[in-house]
Symmetry: C2
Subunit: 574 residues, 2 copies
């Protein structure tokens, strides 16, 4: 079953949309997103009348979700107990942790807590949706503690690819529930508060009942490398480049931006920021003191022409080959400010997300056709991951000494690999609970068990619609995409069933009509024959006639072409 198939409609049937609240003295943990899938992270903690929500992310649609813009978690479970929702707590400012907010806060109306940069990014996002003042945005600093009903939430600084990332220690009557957010353990961070080993190990001493830990890189042995390795490589590439450098990165990777700027300064190049989201993020990060550089170093794209190519480093996003990104347009010689010429240097300072390989390599091929030199993660050292490798995951377990572990942020195979790692590290099997979205856990008296399965699933965003596109519509789109469609129209005389006009045949996405006049003619004959085979009483049943016409036409097309377009017969009565 594809993810699309497990969408709203289906899941409603086999899960409990509105289970009773947890029993008194019981902490319930409900994953509504990001557990057993990648992206749209959302975790719920519930105790008595108090609920806090951790993160509110979006996901980019699967390729089966034709035409869908993006996907956010279905918050049905929370909507059934709105007055109890005390807060949405954010771990950091990546789209898979904050991107769902514009769609979800109108439903939840709860205050949002996060660090300065995280809320800076949230504010910019909400402004686009005219939701800036819709709910309070409350800024916290690492080591702050916030009382929210029965919960006492501690924000603990961790290192990640974006500044101001925190993990959450939620002090509950059942002990500390620790949610790592996204992290890696970087002993030499570019800037910021660093990885707060003290607070995390102090939680370990106090008693962590449940650790929910990032599983993204569980297939990678060892530890992540320092961002400074990337800086050295960039310095080398910038210094050697014969002409302009175009460096693409994730638009939120502020540390990467810092090392790129530092490297450019060192080799005497200027930096030009190109692209809406990366410009906006640069501005937010700089204003909040997360990004530092001197005057006359960084410019926007209008200044490019003022400096010769060998003095330029152009920073942009679009590393995944996204069709409309500035980088993709540059590769197609279709960007208004930046033209790629032979011996230009392209740096893709990011990983290639699985599933995007074809788009990324297609873009790389285009750059090669233009004569450019290209550096990317498979031929140089231009990227390090922001997510813990296996040794760092082991260190997190050792430091926090949880009674229970539930792996999060990953597909099931990653969660299970994380479980295996924890067991190799000495945790007994019953102490590691692998669950997927909608499967709750309940903790009571120091013991964790599975709780009720609650409704969860993707809410599809398409244009202005949120959650209106479901499985039926997607199935139609898939059918239309395969062999196109044929509409057959007959106009008949209501009084006697005589054909007054038609059959007319209109098709899209089937075969060239012009080159297949004979086939179209045979379609018409088959439709007429099918219609004429019905006697007068049957002809009054439009459904019956339409079904008969569809069947006859399907048979003809199958025999002649082995194609199965969507057939829409229409009988109009006059």
């Amino acid at each position: 079953m594809s993810q699309a198939e497990s969408s709203k409609d289906n899941q409603r049937a086999d899960s409990n949309a509105h289970p009773t609240p947890p029993a008194p003295g019981t902490l319930r943990v409900v994953p509504l997103g990001g557990v057993g899938e990648f992206g749209m992270n959302m975790m719920v903690l519930e105790y008595g009348d108090d609920i806090v929500v951790i993160d509110c992310g979006l996901q980019f649609p699967d390729q089966e979700m034709l035409g869908i813009d993006l996907v956010v978690p279905d918050t049905d479970y929370l909507e059934s107990r709105l007055p109890n929702v005390r807060a949405i707590l954010l771990t950091h400012g990546h789209e898979d942790h904050i991107g769902g907010l514009p769609y979800i806060i109108p439903r939840l109306k709860a205050p949002v807590y996060g660090t300065a940069l995280t809320l800076g990014l949230v504010r910019a996002k909400l402004r686009e949706f005219d939701l800036e003042d819709y709910v309070p945005l409350r800024t916290v600093k690492p080591r702050d503690r916030v009382k929210l009903g029965v919960f006492d939430v501690e924000f603990i600084s961790v290192t990640h690819s974006i500044p101001d990332a925190v993990c959450l220690a939620v002090h509950t009557p059942e002990g500390i529930v620790l949610h790592t957010g996204d992290y890696r353990i970087d002993p030499s961070p570019v800037a910021g508060d660093g990885f707060d080993t003290f607070s995390l190990s102090r939680c370990g001493e106090e008693g962590v009942i449940l650790l929910m830990a990032d599983s993204t890189n569980v297939e990678r042995e060892g530890s992540t490398e320092s961002e400074f390795e990337v800086r050295d490589e960039l310095e080398h590439i910038f210094a050697e480049a014969p002409r302009q450098v175009i460096m693409a990165m994730f638009s939120t990777a502020i540390y990467r931006m810092q090392v790129a700027i530092d490297a450019a300064v060192k080799v005497g190049r200027k930096v030009f920021i190109v692209g809406y989201s990366i410009e906006r993020n640069e501005e937010i990060a700089r204003e909040l003191g997360c990004l530092h550089y001197g005057d006359g170093v960084v410019f926007d794209d209008r200044a490019i022409e003022s400096y010769p190519p060998e003095k330029r480093v152009i920073l942009t996003s679009g590393t995944q080959g996204e069709t409309l990104s500035a980088l993709s347009r540059m590769s197609l010689e279709n960007h208004k400010r930046v033209r790629i010429e032979a011996d230009d240097t392209i740096v893709l300072s990011s990983r290639i997300i699985p599933g995007n390989e074809r788009a990324v390599y297609r873009m790389i091929n285009h750059f090669y056709r233009l004569g450019a030199r290209i550096f990317y993660e498979r031929n140089s050292h231009v990227h390090v991951s922001g997510h813990a490798y296996r040794d760092e995951m082991r260190a997190m377990l050792a430091m926090t000494k949880p009674a229970y572990l539930t792996p999060v942020h990953g597909e099931l195979y990653q969660l299970i690999a994380h479980k295996q790692l924890a067991m190799e590290n000495g945790m007994s099997e019953e102490r590691v609970q692998v669950i997927e979205d909608g499967q709750s856990l309940e903790i009571s008296g120091g013991v964790m068990r599975r709780g009720p399965r609650v409704h969860s699933g993707p809410l599809l965003v398409d244009g202005k619609t949120v959650g209106e596109i479901g499985e039926v519509v997607l199935r139609d789109r898939r059918n239309l995409s395969q062999d196109g469609m044929i509409t057959v129209i007959l106009v008949i005389d209501r009084s006697n069933g005589d054909i007054l006009a038609g059959p007319d045949i209109i098709s899209r996405g089937f075969v060239y009509m012009d080159e297949n006049a004979e086939l179209i003619q045979r379609c018409k004959e088959v439709v007429l024959d099918a219609y004429n085979d019905f006697d007068a009483p049957s002809r009054e049943e439009k459904d019956v006639v339409q079904t008969g016409v569809r069947k006859a036409l399907r048979k003809l097309l199958r025999d002649e072409t082995s194609l199965f377009p969507v057939i829409l017969p229409v009988v109009m009565e006059v």
Copy 2:
């Protein structure tokens, strides 16, 4: 530009479909597939009135090629000089080298040369298309030489993941053109003639004017490992497995099949072959002596129930998560003979082809949900590649000492990386020619230059149609897939333009009609308004009316939903 966009229609415009023959004394080399793309390999050598074609593969469609079954090379260039085509020469029996034959030999009608297993697989394939006796199939052995017009073709044994693979040394008046086919250098092959270092280095001594060499694994340093490493790992997995083992592999990987059978025998398990293509290939390989095992070892799927789960190794295909494969159906508890239970062991003995990650991991996740244990290339040693790594590519260059190199089998970024490798190895830049499909090369007097660009491109196979589906149809399918379609039908009185019936609105893949009655009603109003705005003379211009209706409806839907379905207005006159 996507690959889909560079299809037949487009390319016809900017390339020369029927260039003049090469000048006397000139050898022309024309890549019609597989150079600058992955799959559907086809290379043409032409001298005077003689043409030989190397390989005739297929390619699986890009995800933009909606509904397309498969893709084969366009052979326009060859069809313009059919009488000159002496032969199609095959390097080995993989789909990307032989899969195009059923679609291409009716066009070329040339005899086909290949080794026994290669032609065994070709014969089975042609039988499905009733083409078995359409052209002569001529079996050759390694070290055979065949005169074909001016060409003298030598078949040289190489090691690959399928037995009976050869590289081709085509002796021409301009020297030897060496085409590696797919190869790796395996010093301890499971069976077969092995890698014929002698013949290749003898060609090097005689004088290779042009080497066309496989670029698939140019991003991988070092050398491929021995198939025996896989055998040891399989033996270990089979021995430890508590219940049945299901091992998936590429259905042509006969050596892998051999080591799996050997490992099963060693640990006392029986082997059951499940799936049409793998059963057929096993039978062909066994009959040709490419696969060896004793009696009572290998069975078909009807025998599964006769042995307890802990005695079973089930061999099947479907490693890429293909929707209809036996393996995929097993993961969905939807296979008629094999049911997966907890503690069953799944082995994916293959690589995950980039672009297929999501489908493969989705299948892995399903197996985990069923409680299975899973071994795949990222967590165990269950696969080695059949394509040369960088050190083997260096060895090929050293052994054959070509005057010129043209990298083949790969996208442009791989061809360029291969060029860089050759230059690191001491070849000068002008001795390495990176080209893409359609760009010919010409060799004369020991010098190679670029020749004319000829028409090339993908020929799309959809159902029974070959080459009938082009860019217009694909674009329609993409549009239909995004936001679906709406048909609006109006029946009007021919004499006075009065509306006799409608507007009726039919949609597929748009929004739920039932839940959007109000929107549908507004659509009808907008259509009526648009129609009524036309005066009587304009109403007689059906095109004008239809355009007006489409425009009005598009505006409404954009404002209300931000969706852009395909809008098909139909005016029927009575």
